[in-house]
């Protein structure tokens, strides 16, 4: 049943042109991230300075390929990248750095989800199912974490464990579980009063069995929706943190690229900023639109019984 409903959701997303476009975009980003990861690993193993970080003094500020076609001078030196999307102030290839940025973005989106979603699911289930004091504790925790400005929290964590990706993962992961937890809790409370859970209690099942075998599969769609919503927001968060200079170090994250490009924008070096912004825009748009469509398809509050 689980697998069947999941494939039918994919099929239904594929049938609509807008969500199909989003699926394709997500696929392209995923492939780019995988390719970036492979390149990153390759240079690590080969122990060479990666191409996306190699400085080339002669090829600074090369405009993107399509812009060069119209102008005369084209630096066609051999052994250099094509600079399809131009080069930055140190002569590094923007395209390669974009791909690396995608890799970082996916790392952040996935690792923070692996922290935030289990935390939110466990706390939400515990609070929603047991009620009473456990619930009060969970609600209090949610309210407390939600009331802290997320950025301050991330700054504090970065202070404690130092700058770099680990701080970003923990900071974003530990601040964004609240919405997952609230959604799961609300849904579990709804299911707790359903007759099938009551029957399960009367049949003598343990609480853990009821939560994991009976309630959780019926609220799993919330997890899927939560992932698709929080993935782009955590990517955007990482961009922001890296832009501020407390995130990723030494690797081309989108935030670092924006920060870098910002300084030369007024000199007419528009391409780096443009392409990074487009990459972020595309990823966030595709994921958010998919999240919307997924919620329409999966949320029982919006779904009519006939479609079941």
């Amino acid at each position: 049943m689980e697998a069947r409903s999941e494939t039918s959701v994919l099929q239904r997303l594929w049938q609509r042109w807008d969500t199909r476009l989003c699926l394709l975009a997500v696929a392209v980003y995923t492939l780019a991230a995988l390719y970036g990861e492979a390149v990153y690993r390759y240079y690590r193993i080969a122990d060479r300075a990666p191409a996306y970080n190699s400085v080339c003094e002669e090829a600074r500020y090369v405009p993107p390929l399509f812009a060069r076609v119209f102008s005369a001078g084209a630096p066609g030196a051999a052994g250099r990248p094509l600079y399809l999307l131009g080069s930055d102030n140190l002569g590094r290839d923007v395209l390669q750095r974009l791909v690396q940025g995608t890799r970082i973005a996916f790392h952040v989106g996935i690792v923070t989800s692996l922290i935030a979603i289990p935390l939110g699911v466990v706390l939400g289930c515990a609070g929603g199912y047991f009620g009473g004091r456990a619930d009060s504790l969970v609600v209090w925790l949610c309210a407390t974490v939600a009331s802290m400005p997320g950025l301050l929290f991330i700054l504090a964590i970065a202070m404690v464990i130092g700058q770099g990706l680990a701080g970003v993962y923990l900071g974003i992961g530990l601040t964004t579980w609240v919405s997952v937890c609230r959604n799961i809790r609300g849904e579990v409370i709804k299911h707790r009063e359903r007759a099938y859970v009551q029957a399960a209690r009367v049949l003598g099942y343990s609480d853990l069995r009821i939560i994991f075998r009976h309630v959780l599969p019926n609220v799993a769609h919330i997890v899927l929706i939560a992932f698709s919503i929080r993935f782009p927001s955590s990517v955007a968060m990482e961009v922001f943190i890296s832009f501020l200079g407390i995130g990723v170090q030494g690797e081309p994250s989108w935030g670092i690229m924006i920060n870098n490009a910002r300084l030369r924008l007024w000199q007419g070096v528009w391409w780096e900023m443009t392409f990074v912004s487009l990459a972020i825009f595309g990823l966030v748009l595709a994921f958010n639109h998919l999240a919307d469509a997924l919620r329409d398809l999966l949320d029982p509050a919006l779904r009519n019984e006939a479609a079941n």
Binding site: R194, Y196, L203, G204, Y205, S206, N218
Partner: protein, 270 residues
């Protein structure tokens, strides 16, 4: 002692109140007295019908017996043992004595489990069957409620309301209970299916030596089934006695009101 040996369920002075909370501190300002001092017994092998309108506390009474609600006062004894203090393993063992069939069969069945899983999970939990033996056990249960074994791998949504309720009954019987509480068990079924379900319950009673606590708002349903009837109103039992007595000579005006509410279908002009 012969008297107490025959008594399966004995309830004394049972009160289940729900608090009404108000204000920021959620102070309890008052209570909804859903069950407010109920005394009753169910003897072995008999069917006790509990009748009352919506909100009269019938379901809360059932939920309290099932340990889904905590009572405020009173005692519930099953086979002479107080069940309100049971915990852990003792509570699990009690689950095998008393089972329930709820009103809405669709809501009572987890939509993501097959009939096989629905029927045998409880038996596995209680160690009444094994992974290898579960198919045979489930087949037997389905046979009991008049369904065939080729439905074992289907999901609940593939069945009609009547069939789903049969699955619920089969699941409740999987633990071989002594007392089956039917909380409006046939109210959601349409009339022809309802008659079948009632006949099935009657057959199962004889076959497994069950006792029933039959809760309904419709006095017509218990007419044919109940040995004794208790009429409930506002959390109290206002009248109880042998079914025939209560139906023929209702002492309480509320019972008379309920009886008048039963539609009479005349098949031929008189």
């Amino acid at each position: 002692m012969a008297e107490s040996e025959k008594t399966l369920l004995k309830i004394r002075g049972l009160k289940t109140w729900y608090p009404i909370k108000k204000g920021v501190l959620a102070r309890t300002v008052d209570h909804v007295r859903a069950v407010d001092g109920v005394d009753m017994e169910v003897r072995k092998g008999e069917t006790l019908g509990i009748v009352g309108e919506s909100g009269s506390g019938k379901s809360t009474l059932a939920r309290t017996i099932l340990r889904l609600e905590k009572p405020r006062a009173g005692s519930i004894e099953v086979n002479g043992k107080n069940i309100l203090s049971l915990k852990g393993k003792a509570l699990r063992d009690y689950r095998r004595t008393v089972q329930v069939v709820f009103q809405d069969p669709q809501a009572s069945l987890n939509p993501r489990h097959t009939v096989l899983e629905l029927l045998t999970e409880a038996m596995l939990v209680h160690g009444l069957t094994t992974r290898e033996g579960r198919r045979a056990a489930a087949t037997e249960l389905l046979d009991d409620v008049g369904m065939s074994a080729d439905m074992l791998d289907r999901y609940p949504h593939a069945f009609s309301g009547g069939q789903r309720q049969r699955i619920c009954i089969a699941r409740a019987l999987s633990l071989k209970p002594q007392l089956l509480i039917c909380d409006e068990a046939v109210s959601a079924l349409d009339l022809s299916v309802r008659a079948q379900a009632l006949n099935l319950l009657q057959d199962l009673k004889a076959k497994h030596g069950l006792s029933y606590l039959f809760i309904t708002h419709d006095i017509g349903v218990v007419q044919h089934l109940a040995d004794r009837i208790a009429v409930m109103r506002d959390g109290r039992i206002v009248e109880h006695g042998d079914a025939d007595d209560v139906l023929q000579n209702p002492a309480h005006p509320y019972t008379r009101l309920l009886l008048q509410a039963v539609p009479v279908i005349r098949t031929s002009p008189q």
